[in-house]
């Protein structure tokens, strides 16, 4: 299984990851369209991103969310009806939506933000499970 991991103790909160993510997927420099969001809690930087737990797979009545062969939770945009149920049901608050888009979006552990991070605070972990 592939999973994006964030090293809180290294992160400086520069948000290069947000910029890289929104640029890669939506060609815009807009943190509201990034699948990773960095929050500052008293100068400790906390990342909200998908843990690939799959809770959303079970709640999706359109059956549009699935786990791919790498263990990554993905959205089939053709099947998604845009109910945003998965956004409200994500315990991590890591399923995102934008009013410009008809489907929600999430981290698919692609690693683009890992390359963009100047501090090396992000890593794609690969496990067999």
């Amino acid at each position: 299984m592939k999973l994006l991991h964030h090293y809180q103790e290294i992160c400086t909160g520069c948000r290069a990851c947000e910029v890289a993510c929104s640029n890669a997927y939506f060609k815009t420099d807009d943190r509201n369209k990034s699948a990773i969001r960095i929050f500052n809690n008293d100068n400790t930087f906390h990342a909200v991103k998908c843990t690939q737990c799959g809770e959303c797979i079970n709640m999706c009545t359109a059956h549009a969310i699935y786990r791919d062969k790498n263990g990554v939770v993905r959205i089939d945009k053709k099947l998604c009806v845009g109910c945003l149920g998965c956004v409200g049901f994500c315990s991590e608050m890591a399923m995102f939506y934008s009013d410009d888009l008809t489907e929600p979006f999430k981290c698919i552990a692609c690693g683009i933000c890992v390359k963009a991070c100047p501090e090396g605070a992000l890593e794609i972990l690969v496990s067999k499970a």
């Binding site: 009545t61 059956h63 109910c83 149920g85 956004v87 049901f89 009013d99």
Partner: protein
């Protein structure tokens, strides 16, 4: 497939602010299929599925009309909020007719996908009037803009068979089945006045057709008296903005809030997602509201045997 008795081609209306702006009239007796304009007057005075139903029913009947008169109408509409995917519950179809049980207009409603699919197919309401000589079905394809009335004598009569068969018949493949909804009754409604209507939706997880009921008022009896076996609608392409809302940002924001509240609170409160309205059984029993012994009593000492926990522990998987 049964013999096609009547075909009708149309240009599906573009949805604007929750309305298609047109309604569909079908007479299964003389095989007439007509379009009607949805007026600003209707939207202003009779807003909502039930309002539109009653408006059309009022036009259709006279003071002499009984439940089994040919001019009695079954009218189905989902209203302007129907089909907003962000809000669960907007899949409802409202149905009105003159009831065989009360001899006056009644309304009932059901979930399932029929109402929203009907709207997205271009029709804010569907009137079914007249009486067919032999069993018929009505099929509406909202992507192609095609309607037909077909001979349905060879089809099974009961919903559990009919829904599966028609969903498979009109779907191109497994994934297409979610785009189809069937309204049907069943053989019991040929005999009893309180027959109901079933509104289908396809559940891709269980890989089966499921049904929601418009159970009040004996609508199924009227449906079968008209010799209608099924109404089928198909529409592919639903998204969160298909209703063309005025403020999609507000819709999304409130929709997400609503889902989040369900996620955080439902297990602690009514457990609707686990058990549905059966969560009310013991509360109703305690407050003398649980209909028992054919409504003679409002509770029963044995009610605990059908408590929500019994369903959860013994029957739900």
């Amino acid at each position: 497939m049964g013999r096609i008795l009547k075909e009708y081609n149309y240009t599906p209306a573009k949805i604007h602010r929750g309305y298609a702006g047109k309604s569909l009239y079908i007479n299964v007796g003389d095989l007439r299929i007509e379009e009607k304009e949805v007026t600003e007057f209707m939207k202003e005075k009779f807003v909502g599925g039930k309002g539109f139903d009653l408006w059309y029913l009022w036009q259709a009947v006279t003071s002499q009309t009984r439940w089994d008169s040919p001019e009695n109408e079954i009218v189905i509409s989902s209203g302007p909020l129907g089909g907003i995917t962000q809000y669960s519950g907007t899949g409802k179809s409202l149905v009105c007719a003159i009831s065989p049980l009360t001899d006056i207009p009644i309304d009932s409603n059901a979930g399932g996908y029929f109402g929203p699919l009907l709207k997205f197919a271009g029709w804010d309401a569907l009137e079914v009037q007249g009486k067919a000589e032999k069993d018929v079905l009505v099929f509406i394809d909202g992507n192609k803009g095609y309607i037909c009335i077909e001979d349905a004598q060879d089809l099974p009569e009961d919903t559990h068979l009919l829904g599966e068969e028609l969903t498979s018949r009109y779907a191109l493949d497994e994934k297409d089945k979610v785009n189809i909804s069937v309204v049907s009754s069943g053989s019991a409604a040929n005999h009893i006045l309180y027959g109901m209507l079933n509104f289908s939706f396809y559940d891709p997880r269980r890989k089966t057709v499921r049904y929601k009921q418009a159970a009040r008022g004996g609508l199924g009896r009227i449906f079968r008296d008209k010799r209608v076996k099924a109404l089928v609608v198909k529409y592919k392409g639903i998204k969160g903005d298909t209703t063309d809302p005025a403020d999609v940002a507000a819709l999304n924001r409130i929709g997400v809030k609503y889902h989040k509240e369900m996620h955080d609170l439902d297990d602690k409160q009514n457990a609707m997602r686990k058990i549905g309205t059966a969560n009310t059984i013991m509360v109703m029993n305690k407050y003398d509201l649980l209909p028992t012994r054919n409504f003679q009593t409002g509770g029963d000492p044995d009610a605990y045997k059908i408590a929500p926990e019994v369903f959860i522990n013994q029957y739900l998987t």
